[in-house]
Symmetry: C2
Subunit: 207 residues, 2 copies
């Protein structure tokens, strides 16, 4: 299985590296970070740079794509090289996936029309402009398109995908390998559970 | 607050990027990836390269250090440049922390003698050779030293730390910003909950 993760300026690191770590631990799987051109791409904080080892043109037909989100998504909505790659890769993928605001890029590539999809809670409604039906769930599957909620949801999405792409025991083995037995210190990771007023604080952290 | 995360060959990406994303979203916080020399460092799968933007010598007195683990830890146990930096930085840190097998590096630096600590379940007992008492918990605090269990536990550790370093509302805002409302697809992320035989499968995934 060949997985490609596109990087673009001001992506959120965990959006990409969460699913990456899950899928890279999967036997007989290769993950390639791609970008418009091979080389360094810096994240939304300006403090972490990942290396894309291939260009979009180098990886035209991956089995799976995982499109991360981040503050840079809004500018990337007019990045025709990225959108064109997503659109063309999607024709041959087994799964086309996104994390966080990455679903807006799937939408801008024309892939979400008439489908249910999710995204980061702060911009969930924006999916409607691409003809999608926003769904406030952690992982949303619509045929071969799978979208995840914000940032950390990519880990859950990748494990869910892996169980389908391979089998449940392989996904469970990876979950145990990365000791994914989460114990968040607070019950506030979703707008559904967060105390009143916390969303405003969270938005000020993101921007 | 200045956080430094040392990178060494064959670290596990999520060990570093989980806590990084939490702490980099924290207001008035800078995170710097450091290494023996500034430059690219490649992870345990050989497919993801992060850029260290500073050398150990460039960042002698960070407020917090987060030492990631990975298959490369065993070789790093004899990396005197890394161990010396950990040892000296620790003299001035507010918190000295690790994720996964990174705790073995704290041990090799001489910091865990007589203390409780945790690590990845697969090598938890190895902490004894450094005089530490292994504890099978997700996050273990011993004064200013905080160790986390395997890979994904660094996210819980960083949020716990943040609540202490700042305040609970700031930590909650970051938890909501990264939408950390985990919904793992299986109940098997710890040896305590995993079905019989899964640990062997997980070990074959790691190595």
């Amino acid at each position: 299985m060949h997985v490609a993760i596109p990087l673009y300026p001001r992506f959120t690191a965990l959006d990409a590296v969460g699913p990456y770590t899950v899928l890279a631990f999967t036997p007989d799987t290769t993950v390639t970070f791609v970008a418009a051109e091979a080389g360094p791409v810096t994240d939304d904080r300006g403090t972490l740079t990942l290396i894309a080892t291939a260009s979009y043109a180098d990886v035209p037909r991956p089995d799976v794509i995982v499109v991360p989100g981040g503050p840079g998504t809004m500018e990337a909505l007019s990045d025709e090289a990225l959108l064109g790659w997503i659109r063309q890769a999607h024709e041959h993928t087994r799964w086309t996936t996104s994390v966080c605001t990455g679903s807006l890029l799937l939408g801008a590539a024309g892939l979400l029309s008439g489908l249910k999809a999710t995204s980061h809670w702060a911009i969930l409604d924006h999916l409607e402009r691409f003809g999608a039906t926003p769904v406030s769930e952690r992982v949303v599957g619509s045929g071969k398109i799978v979208t995840a909620a914000g940032v950390s949801a990519g880990i859950d999405m990748a494990l869910t995908l892996l169980a389908q792409a391979r089998d449940e025991v392989t996904a469970q083995a990876v979950q145990l390998a990365i000791e994914y037995d989460p114990q968040p210190p607070f019950t506030c990771g979703s707008p559904k559970t967060a105390p009143e007023g916390l969303a405003e604080r969270a938005l000020s952290v993101i921007t």
